[in-house]
């Protein structure tokens, strides 16, 4: 049934960028349509953040049970069902999925289920319908990047890994990035023998090398084998088991495992977008190029989220989408994305906001470092989470907090305080005046800030 409908804005993609942009525009009184080819909520909700964190939450719980069985508090650790974890996870995802649907419907946003084809900056065809609009927002997101390695069809990607029905006995993770390390953490806690192969000489070079080094040691202590400077040559199969052949230290080595997880990264999803016809450019990685107002080369054709590269974080997508809507309908406004918190949900987790020491040094910024260990904090001791440290980078002279890096329990929550401080350009003196509740892990952050001035009272002299 062919339908032609006119809208103020058509959004391609119902993921974080798409649905937040839609709500933002609807709230401004605009008539909005969202086209979604798969499931509302996009990668994040369905095959990314949410399901991963569900698994990691259960993995965390299992770690706590193990620790308390070893110290004798529990006599018997008991049994758990991986199948039930996956079932519960699906229920949570389905619930959130329905939630996004309700949210959009409640704002009167039209949702078109199907693969959208953008034929011009003002026309979209989807599922037999033709939609026209003055403005189109591209939020098609990203997909898994599968490198051209022989035997790549034997590997699974993160989406598959999140949907495994049977817990694998062993798994090789190709790629030691955020996704690879998070899934490695989860599966290791469930009982899978995990090996991570990272091509670069160190893990996560964009983050603080000291704390990432600590993370690596702790992951290794938990049984995850991490091999850096490992270049995967091929993947093969014998009978029921698979193997990965890689080169490391000038030697060729082989690992056998039940599953091979390919987690080397994601790339922009451009299916249905004829970039040439639309007159939009992509960079070398395939990301759509936009200006500072998120407009593409074609007028009134905007793009936000993973499809433009950038932070590749859901909360960045939210911010970008809101900014694009403002730019479209209110007026051109510059939004800063530099105070961006980013989290790695390993066990224990890491979170950071601001630049790393390496990045500051590169820029020639003079700074001092304040640090405080979780092991000196009462709450950490009470909760049995003494592995961790917080670093605070303070600009010499102005005493402004430039960056905070947290490795330890609840890093992803503590980072919100740090982000607040950074965005408000707080100095160490201002932070000292703020009272932090005791006992709490937040005190670790507070003490690290004070330490930058040599002012921590909880550190031994």
């Amino acid at each position: 049934m062919d339908k032609t409908e006119k809208y103020d804005l058509i959004i391609i993609g119902g993921g974080p960028a798409g649905y937040i942009g839609a709500v933002s525009a609807a709230k401004k009184g605009k008539k909005v349509a969202v086209c979604e080819s798969s499931k509302l909520g996009g990668t994040c909700l369905n095959v990314g953040c949410i399901p991963t964190k569900f698994l990691l939450d259960k993995a965390n719980l299992i770690e706590k049970i193990k620790a308390n069985t070893i110290n004798g508090i529990f006599k018997d650790a008991g049994l758990f069902s991986f199948k039930k974890i996956q079932q519960e996870k699906s229920m949570v995802v389905a619930k959130l999925n329905r939630g996004v649907g309700s949210l959009l419907r409640s704002h009167g946003i039209a949702v078109y289920q199907g693969f959208a084809s953008v034929s011009s900056p003002h026309q979209v065809t989807v599922g037999g319908n033709t939609l026209t609009s003055d403005r189109i927002l591209l939020a098609t997101g990203s997909e898994v990047l599968i490198p051209d390695i022989p035997g790549k069809e034997l590997s699974i990607d993160s989406t598959d890994a999140l949907n495994l029905e049977k817990l694998p006995v062993s798994m090789v993770v190709i790629g030691g990035g955020v996704i690879g390390l998070e899934l490695a953490s989860a599966y290791n806690s469930f009982g899978t023998q995990v090996t991570v192969l990272e091509m670069l000489p160190s893990l996560l070079p964009g983050e603080d090398s000291e704390l990432i080094g600590k993370m690596r040691k702790i992951l290794a202590r938990k049984g995850i084998e991490i091999i850096t400077s490992a270049k995967v040559e091929s993947i093969g199969k014998e009978g029921n088991s698979k193997h990965v052949i890689f080169s490391h230290d000038d030697e060729t080595k082989e690992i056998t495992a039940e599953q091979i997880l390919m987690a080397v990264g994601r790339k922009a999803q451009l299916k249905g977008i004829d970039t040439n016809k639309l007159g939009i450019q992509t960079d070398i990685k395939g990301n759509i190029i936009v200006d500072e107002f998120f407009q593409t080369g074609a007028e009134n054709l905007y793009a936000v989220g993973d499809v433009i590269g950038g932070w590749q974080l859901a909360h960045s997508a939210y911010t970008e989408a809101e900014a694009a809507i403002t730019n479209m309908f209110i007026g051109k406004e510059l939004v800063s994305l530099s105070t961006m918190p980013r989290c790695i949900y390993t066990i224990p987790p890491y979170a950071a906001v601001g630049e790393t020491e390496a990045q500051l040094k590169d820029k020639g910024v003079i700074y001092s470092v304040g640090r405080f260990s979780y092991a000196l904090n009462g709450m950490a001791l009470a909760e049995g989470v003494t592995d961790g440290e917080i670093k605070v980078l303070v600009e010499t002279g102005s005493n402004r907090i430039l960056a905070v890096q947290i490795f330890g329990e609840l890093a992803h929550e503590l980072i919100a305080t740090a982000t607040m401080a950074l965005s408000q350009k707080l100095t160490v003196e201002k932070w000292e005046q703020i009272i932090t509740a005791h006992p709490s892990l937040s005190e670790v952050l507070h003490e690290a800030v004070l330490d930058a001035n040599g002012a921590s009272s909880h550190k031994p002299a």
Binding site: I62, K66, T69, I70, N71, K83, G223
Partner: protein, 398 residues
């Protein structure tokens, strides 16, 4: 069509039944009503018949094993029925694999805060802390238990059982398994002794008269009358004057029974059973004797049905066939009195008239009473009344 044969409910005090022997082999044709197995309950043995017709496809318990009421013990059906069942159960047995241990068993897992010794972590079995402690105390190598039994988590009981077995192997003793009957006797006797405050009183009964009565009766009766039969009648009569003997203590009150149901302790191979004859006061001596003989015969064959062993209100235990002068029996709960009879032997008794000791056939009889119901004087009074009836049986006619 596949039929499942289940273990029936047969025990008086237990649902665990011992398979004594199989009457059929796998592959045999079974008709409806054919005996499949002979089982032992806590009191007797009985046959289990097949309700189904077909081929005995599979036995799920072996001779010497126990099964609980309701457990499936055999499959009867047609050829091929079993394969179909196995195909179906393969699917559902996945459910057993669904749950795995939180603590990894095989990998050398390094704990966050190492608190155990290295040796404890690297072994390939798991044992609970209590099991490990017991093993240390008993100086047992716990890894032997794992390899012997192939169990994945060794618990305290596993260590205790293992310890018993290895002690038995060392030839200090032989460990005999407990039969259902033995377990029940053990439990009930312990319960009686620990919960009933009892006392015992003895009387010496002159048996000459009753012996003559019995001999005369047996000249005429088709059924052999025994002392037990006569005594049960005497006891029932004495209870008329002392009804609390025929009662049971409960926290809500003393249950005074309306009829007398006398239990007779009968020795059987490897144990003891107590068949009950109900409503003695309503039965003629001949009936009592007949019932008693039948009960004893069945009991000795292990074929006494459970309803014949229930409902007793007072028990008589007679060891007179042995040279036992006297003994104190243990009350059979929930009764309040048990009478224990010793052997009849000639003893010297002072005779006033003859001014000398005369030989009299004497039997010692003790009564053990529940003091919550029966006080000293009452019990003594009952025994006096009973002695009086035994020595003057004409009084039974009153």
């Amino acid at each position: 069509m596949l039929h499942k044969i289940a273990m029936p409910a047969a025990g008086k005090n237990t649902d665990e039944l011992l398979v004594l022997s199989w009457n059929k082999e796998e592959g045999d044709l079974v008709e409806r009503g054919d005996v499949l197995i002979e089982i032992e309950t806590d009191k007797a043995t009985m046959d289990v018949e097949s309700f189904a017709k077909g081929i005995l496809l599979k036995k799920l318990v072996e001779e010497g094993e126990t099964a609980t009421t309701g457990d499936i013990i055999a499959y009867i059906g047609e050829e091929g029925d079993l394969e179909q069942l196995e195909a179906e159960t393969e699917v559902s047995s996945d459910e057993d694999d669904e749950y795995i241990p939180i603590m990894p068993v095989e990998r050398t897992m390094v704990p966050i805060e190492p608190r155990q010794n290295q040796e404890d972590i690297s072994l390939s079995y798991k044992a609970s802390p209590a099991a490990k402690k017991l093993a240390r105390d008993l100086q047992i190598d716990i890894s032997q238990i794992a390899s012997t039994n192939g169990i994945s988590l060794i618990k305290y009981d596993d260590v205790a059982t293992y310890s018993d077995h290895i002690a038995a192997r060392d030839n200090d003793f032989e460990l005999l398994p407990l039969s259902s009957m033995r377990k029940v006797i053990a439990d009930r006797m312990l319960a009686s002794v620990t919960t009933i405050p009892s006392f015992t009183a003895e009387v010496e009964v002159h048996m000459e008269t009753l012996m003559t009565v019995r001999d005369n009766l047996n000249l005429e009766s088709e059924v052999k009358i025994s002392f037990n039969d006569l005594l049960s009648v005497c006891v029932t009569k004495a209870i008329e004057k002392y009804p609390l003997i025929n009662s049971s203590y409960t926290d809500d009150g003393i249950k005074k029974f309306n009829s007398t149901h006398v239990g007779f302790a009968v020795s059987v191979e490897n144990g003891l059973v107590v068949p009950v004859i109900k409503n003695i006061e309503k039965k003629r001596l001949r009936e009592i004797a007949l019932e008693n003989r039948e009960n004893i015969s069945r009991a000795r064959d292990g074929k006494l049905s459970s309803d014949k062993m229930e409902g007793g209100t007072v028990t008589i235990s007679n060891l007179g066939m042995f040279p036992i002068q006297r003994f104190d029996a243990i009350i059979n709960p929930p009764e309040s009195c048990i009478l224990a009879l010793g052997t009849i032997s000639k003893k010297p008794v002072w005779d006033e008239a003859a001014n000398s000791f005369v030989p009299v056939s004497i039997m010692s009889m003790t009564g053990t009473f529940d003091h919550r119901v029966i006080d000293g004087a009452y019990g003594a009074g009952f025994l006096k009344a009973l002695k009086d009836l035994i020595e003057n049986p004409f009084r039974l006619l009153l």
